[in-house]
Amino acid sequence: MDMGVKLGDLVVKRRIGDGELSGKVIGMDAYNILYQFVSSIRTPEGFPLTDSGGNIVSHLKGLFSRTASLMSEGVSPIYIFDGRPHELKRGTLELRRARKEKAVMEWEKALEEGDLQTARTKASQTSRLTDEMIDDAKHLLGLMGVPCVQAPGEGEAQASYMASKGDVYGASSQDFDSILFGCPLLIRNLAVTGRRKLPGKREWIDVQPEIIDLKRTLSELGLTREQLIDLAILVGTDFNEGVKGIGPKRALSMIREFGTLERAAKEKRIPLLEWDKVREIFLDPCVTDEYSIEYGELKRDMVMGFLVDNREFGPSGVERTLDQIGARKKEVPQSSLDAFL
């Protein structure tokens, strides 16, 4: 499902080097990542995995194994959860809800017709995260010793704030909104590395994590962050609809030509609604200093108790993953040459 602003073609990306993230704290966009797990980890008919009590466990499965493998590589993920959505996001949320309802009907229809391919695709579009699922995820992370941060507003805004303070190295999300929030480094594909199915197609692509550098993107585009935000508002964000017929490339040339959104709108006679409120969301977001990035200890027995006894995971698989965390490379407190320039 498309979420966030469509800046994929404009940003400057580079592959992440082997071990580059080792020893680094990464702020993970928790909702974004859990959504990906709950939509991709499903039965062939498209049902999410559940225990016998009906609790969905798809997201726990993905979260547990992915977090463990990151930790074993020496990365320290911390999870940042969204708080209250901004009132301007209501439209986007309504739209998503409507799309999901439609997808549910199409899924049921495909199942009746025995079309598993379509059923699976439609099912993945129906994913929801309930409060219970979020509580389970937070509970599991707590037992693993992994810090969770509760953002007052948008999780990406909080992650960007923490990155600009130097508490996290970068923010991990599939959405590009983070760079609008001023995140110096955005890391994509961190939770979904490996082979991944293209939505709606029978094709697989090899997904590699990549880094998007805000400074380099801005200098490449010849824009300031304020101008990049203006560009995004023209294209459309989670907080505004954008102007019909204006894609990222066109918006870029308009902002380059006219400098600001106001002038571009005036010259091109585009009616703008609430754009200054949207700007404010990105430039002056709601964030908090109340968080800890300290890792706790891994409570092996309690993880086993929760995942195996309560959520009916296979014990040997859970043990293997726990061993993987146990073999975590001692966080190498490695400095960078940049510190001596």
């Binding site: 580079r14 992440i16 080097g17 082997d18 071990g19 580059e20 080792s22 490379k329 001692k330 190498v332 407190p333 490695q334 400095s335 960078s336 040459l337 940049d338 510190a339 001596f340 320039l341």
Partner: protein, 272 residues
């Protein structure tokens, strides 16, 4: 009919002209060099990076590169005297040195390699009866690494074999090694849990002092350090500079002193 023929001919004509213009505008790059020398250059670089931006000018080659995490840096020069033929106009070339090194493995040490650019801007590498044409790497995205200007209080001259010894043992014990330098000895230690290694080098026996302002102590990741040692080789005279929780600098000459290399390695942050 004639018009038809002309339109058919035109594109190939344009291509031919473009090629000629391209050739005229293209910078000269043709060199002959011993396999051994080229192998030395590339094996000093590959512990740090796979692809590099080569700067070639009247004086020879200059290469600077840093690993993606900015922990280790290499700064290398090779003077034009190291080449058997050197017809080069100043230019920058992107090379995949990892791949080139792989190809050079087959050659004899004293064999001559010829390198030049062809009209399609590919790198042509020929040695004896083998010819390779390889695409250049796009070097436009390679920024020049910033080299910190380090003032390091301790400088030592020694054979790389002394370090190799310490490295071999410490790798089985821990993931880091500490250099503790006093006036007349260097103590290398590595420890974890109940195991530890200590290797002592004495002044005048295993090393000579080049500079000593004050005692110095720094620790380094063995992962990185062993990579650099691969680039240095087992039996080479080196100058090692150490500071206090500061990067180390290792300098050495290669290819009969026609090449000079410098490694910088950032320290681990001491947990106190």
């Amino acid at each position: 009919m004639d018009v038809f023929r002309q339109t058919l001919l035109l594109p190939s004509l344009i291509r031919a002209v473009e090629r000629d213009i391209g050739q005229l505008g293209m910078d000269m790059f043709e060199i002959d060099i011993k396999v051994e020398t080229l192998r030395s250059v590339f094996s000093i670089l590959t512990p740090i990076v796979g692809e590099i931006k080569l700067k070639a000018d009247e004086e020879g080659w200059k290469i600077k590169a840093v690993d993606p995490a900015h922990v280790a840096l290499v700064d290398l020069t090779l003077s034009r005297e190291a080449f058997d033929r050197y017809d080069v106009e100043p230019m920058e070339l992107g090379l995949n040195v990892e791949r080139l090194l792989e190809h050079l493995k087959g050659g004899r040490a004293d064999e001559i390699v010829m390198m030049k650019l062809d009209t399609d801007n590919r790198l042509v590498v020929s040695m004896s009866n083998l010819t390779l044409k390889l695409p250049l790497v796009d070097a436009s995205g390679f920024s020049d690494p910033k080299v910190p200007n380090l003032q390091l209080p301790v400088g030592l001259k020694l054979n790389s074999g002394e370090l190799q010894k310490a490295l071999k043992v410490s790798a089985s014990i821990s993931d880091y090694i500490t250099f503790d330098c006093s006036e007349d000895r260097i103590i290398m230690t590595s420890s974890e849990d109940l195991s530890s290694m200590t290797l002592e080098l004495a002044k005048g026996e295993q090393y000579e002092t080049v500079a000593f302002e004050k005692p110095a102590k720094s620790s380094f990741s063995l992962d990185y350090f062993s990579q650099l040692m691969k680039g240095i080789g087992a039996n080479r005279d080196i100058v090692l500079n150490i500071g206090n929780s500061y990067p180390m600098k290792i300098e050495f000459d290669f290819s009969e002193d026609q090449g000079h290399a410098r490694y910088l390695l950032a320290p681990r942050i001491e947990s106190t």
